[in-house]
């Protein structure tokens, strides 16, 4: 039951798909349409002394993460995992994802975003971009995306990226905190998720491969390939990068929960999820202590039915799990524990079948 008074009504309404939640979604959609498809924000950015509208967007995004982050740190102040993780999120966003590229731009250097790796930021591995980027960044883009990200995933799970570094996850875990319980947990969503996220991954690989091949072969040698590569690149850019990650991911917070993009479409999350399945990260369940209250499932932003594992005394590693640690935090009986360990409960299955059918339902 909601709290009394107008504030109680508002708090409940905006976080439970009420009229204000829909209005907020409408406002976010309007903002993103203006941002992506008009230049109306450019004069505002310039009048604030910023270089272009994307600096303004970056500043707003960072502000949202910092403010939301302070709220989250205050809310979970007794949980050091949450405090440290959220501090890192705030730090990465305000430096690597905002001030570093901005300062570089001020000094007329190419802006580089060190915290965005391929395939989330697909364009950094396009050969044309690699060739024109500063050498240190080109090296980081290749080594970071292909080697470091998966290796860290093996040792610490996908959480090292998805809920410690990434800006999409960063916004979800800070400003998105009041909406995390809205993520749907139904069987239908699981069916959608497992196809959608892997289809996007295949598309990302295909696009990168085709653009790379076309560059290596040379557009003059194979104009047909070049035209396919071009159109795939621009379709992927519009559909996946702009619409799904840029717009839909945030616009749907008040309606569909915070990780719509991460859960259903992010190719980076898909790769790291597969890696995580074979790595050390898992959630340990304390045997026989679960009271089936369901706080964990309610607050899982990835729509994982954590309770089903907990009440079955089963340790688990789900590919989707971003390791935000909120299930562990909200559990009133301290049943769940995030950890990185090689030794596994023999119940944990590692087959591909288990991966595809890992939804507990």
């Amino acid at each position: 039951m909601r709290q009394k008074g107008t504030l109680g009504w508002l708090k409940h309404d905006v976080t439970h798909r009420g009229i204000t939640a829909w209005l907020l979604t409408g406002a976010l959609l309007a903002f993103y349409l203006v941002l992506y498809f008009t230049d109306w924000l450019t004069p505002i950015a310039k009048s604030l002394g910023l270089i272009h509208k994307w600096n303004l967007y970056g500043a707003l995004y960072t502000l949202a993460i910092v403010t939301g982050g302070i709220y989250v740190i205050a809310k979970y102040r007794d949980n050091r995992y949450q405090v440290i993780r959220t501090s890192v999120v705030i730090f990465v966003q305000s430096t690597l994802a905002f001030s570093v590229p901005y300062v570089l731009e001020l000094f007329n250097q190419p802006a580089v975003y060190l915290s965005y790796l391929w395939p989330l930021e697909i364009s950094i591995l396009y050969p044309k971009n690699l060739a024109s980027a500063p050498v240190y960044f080109a090296v980081w883009a290749v080594v970071g995306s292909i080697l470091i990200a998966p290796i860290l995933g093996i040792f610490y799970g996908k959480r090292w990226y998805c809920s410690w570094v990434c800006g999409c996850g960063g916004l979800a875990n800070t400003a998105g905190e009041p909406f995390r319980h809205l993520t749907p947990t139904s069987q239908g969503w699981w069916n959608f998720e497992k196809y959608a996220v892997h289809i996007t991954l295949v598309l990302a690989l295909l696009t990168t491969g085709l653009v790379g091949a076309s560059y290596l072969i040379g557009p003059e040698q194979s104009p047909v390939l070049a035209s396919y590569a071009n159109s795939l690149q621009s379709w992927y850019g519009l559909l996946v990068v702009t619409i799904l990650s840029g717009i839909v991911g945030v616009v749907l917070y008040p309606i569909g929960g915070t990780r719509v993009w991460c859960r259903n479409f992010c190719p980076m999350a898909a790769i790291l999820g597969l890696v995580q399945k074979f790595g050390r990260f898992r959630i340990r369940v304390k045997d026989d202590m679960c009271i089936s209250c369901g706080m964990c499932t309610t607050y899982c932003e990835m729509g994982i039915d954590v309770r089903e594992y907990a009440q079955n005394n089963q340790d688990f590693t789900r590919a989707a799990c971003v390791g935000c640690g909120l299930c562990e935090e909200v559990c009133p009986r301290g049943v769940l524990h995030l950890e990185n360990e090689w030794d596994r409960d023999p119940q944990e299955s590692l087959t591909m079948g288990a991966l595809l059918e890992e939804s507990y339902k």
Partner: protein, 426 residues
């Protein structure tokens, strides 16, 4: 074979799933009858719905389709008669029904005392045990500024926390000299007391409810305590424990033998043929003593074992080392073994973190063998603590290895070496 289960709480549902695990729908039809809700829900989570942390639907531990997939028929009705000789029950709305095997998993109801004025009070007295209790609490909270909660146990604290969430001024009447002597020693009890008070609750230790004063509309308007003080309140929460639901059985054709609860043996069979009982409603005969166990974990265990017993397995209930858990507002609590009722001559090691609400108590018997743990304010793996009790480890051995059983979040491990220690003989 027709398996009929009365009660869709954790014991009943666990039994149903256990039976289905063995027999498919062709061999066994399974029916679960409940008057409370359409679907099994987690009773322990009622407080989270009350506090707007969960929606009602979130309280259901299983996907609704799971019952259909498992061919478990759910019936919303009330059993009004049992005829074990005829192997039939009678439902209030739907009449007679045959069974081959019957499980009574009807749970417990809030204990109530007929204080003066209770009979004249039609509205405003609440509990927090059933879904209907939650409905009542929510309905009344809108028009409540002050409330009194009676009973210093686990549900009492939950009710206090919920009412505080809704901005209600709460007076908490606890009969005992310190909080919850049934589970805690004095130091911990006083710490919890202070913690509750720090949330803006007026905690009255050693005070009891004397009289309930209804207003002109019949709704509670105030209460008086045994010190004669009158405290205005629009809600009166009673949380002084629960008792097995047995009274309805008296009027049935073949009432099973009942004492404090429905008598069962260690295979959960009642004295009636083909009738079992499990969960909070039963009183289990262990030979030298009988026990009524009314916590979530025991009900879950009873349900599974009763299911096996109904399948014809040879079941002997042998309870593991006792454990339970709870949360007193922000303070998590894990208990294992024998603590509050430790025998005279036991020795306790009490550890407390300076300036923080973190304590541990380890109890050893006269032979210096560990028998119990009470851990507050940090997380513990109770399975390791249980193992140490089974292995009868000595106090020093346990204390040196305490960190092996810590279950705190990453980066958040409590520094045990900073704690103060005190040894006392009981």
């Amino acid at each position: 074979m027709d398996y009929t289960i009365v009660g869709n709480g954790v014991a009943g549902i666990e039994a149903a799933f256990k039976i289905r695990e063995r027999w498919g729908p062709e061999q066994a039809s399974i029916t679960v009858i409940s008057d409370e809700t359409d679907y099994f829900f987690s009773r322990t989570a009622l407080m989270y719905a009350y506090m707007n942390k969960m929606r009602r639907r979130d309280l259901e531990p299983h996907d609704r389709q799971a019952y259909e997939r498992q061919s478990i028929e759910l019936v919303r009705d009330r059993v009004v008669d049992i005829d074990a000789d005829d192997q039939s029950i009678t439902l209030r709305d739907d009449g007679r029904r045959d069974f081959d095997r019957l499980l009574l998993a009807v749970g417990a109801k809030p204990r109530m005392i007929q204080w003066p004025g209770v009979d004249e009070t039609d509205d405003g007295i609440v509990h927090l045990v059933s879904m209907q209790d939650l409905d009542e609490c929510e309905r009344l909270t809108w028009t409540t500024d002050e409330a009194v909660v009676v009973g210093g146990g686990l549900i009492g604290v939950e009710l206090v926390e919920c009412l505080r969430f809704h901005g209600v001024d709460v007076t908490f009447l606890v009969r005992e000299p310190y909080f919850w002597p049934a589970g805690l020693h004095r130091e911990e009890g006083e710490m919890i007391q202070q913690h509750i008070a720090s949330h803006g609750v007026d905690v009255r230790m050693g005070e009891e409810l004397a009289e309930v004063i209804p207003g002109s509309e019949g709704r509670v308007e105030a209460i008086t305590t045994d010190t004669g003080e009158e405290i205005p309140c629009q809600m009166l929460g009673i949380a002084i424990g629960v008792t097995p639901r047995t009274d309805w059985l008296d009027s049935t054709t073949t009432p099973p033998s009942c004492g404090r609860g429905i008598h069962v043996d260690r295979s959960f069979q009642t004295d009636l043929d083909n009738v079992w009982a499990a969960g909070d409603c039963c009183e289990i005969d262990f030979g030298d003593e009988t026990r009524v166990e009314t916590i979530w974990y025991t009900a879950e265990r009873h349900g599974r074992l009763a299911g096996l017993s109904m399948l014809g397995d040879d079941v002997t209930y042998d309870p593991p080392v006792f454990f339970n858990s709870s949360k007193f507002l922000d303070i998590e609590y894990t208990t294992v073994g024998t603590v509050a009722d430790a025998p005279d001559g036991s020795k306790t090691l009490f550890r407390r973190m300076p300036d923080e609400e973190i304590t541990q108590r380890i109890i050893v018997d006269e032979q210096d063998q560990v028998i119990g743990f009470n851990m507050l304010g940090s997380r513990w793996d109770h399975t390791i603590l249980q193992q140490w009790i089974r292995e009868r480890r000595p106090l020093d051995w346990v204390r040196d290895r305490l960190s092996n059983a810590q279950f705190d979040v990453e980066f958040g491990r409590v520094p045990l070496e900073r704690m103060n220690e005190e040894i006392r003989r009981l």
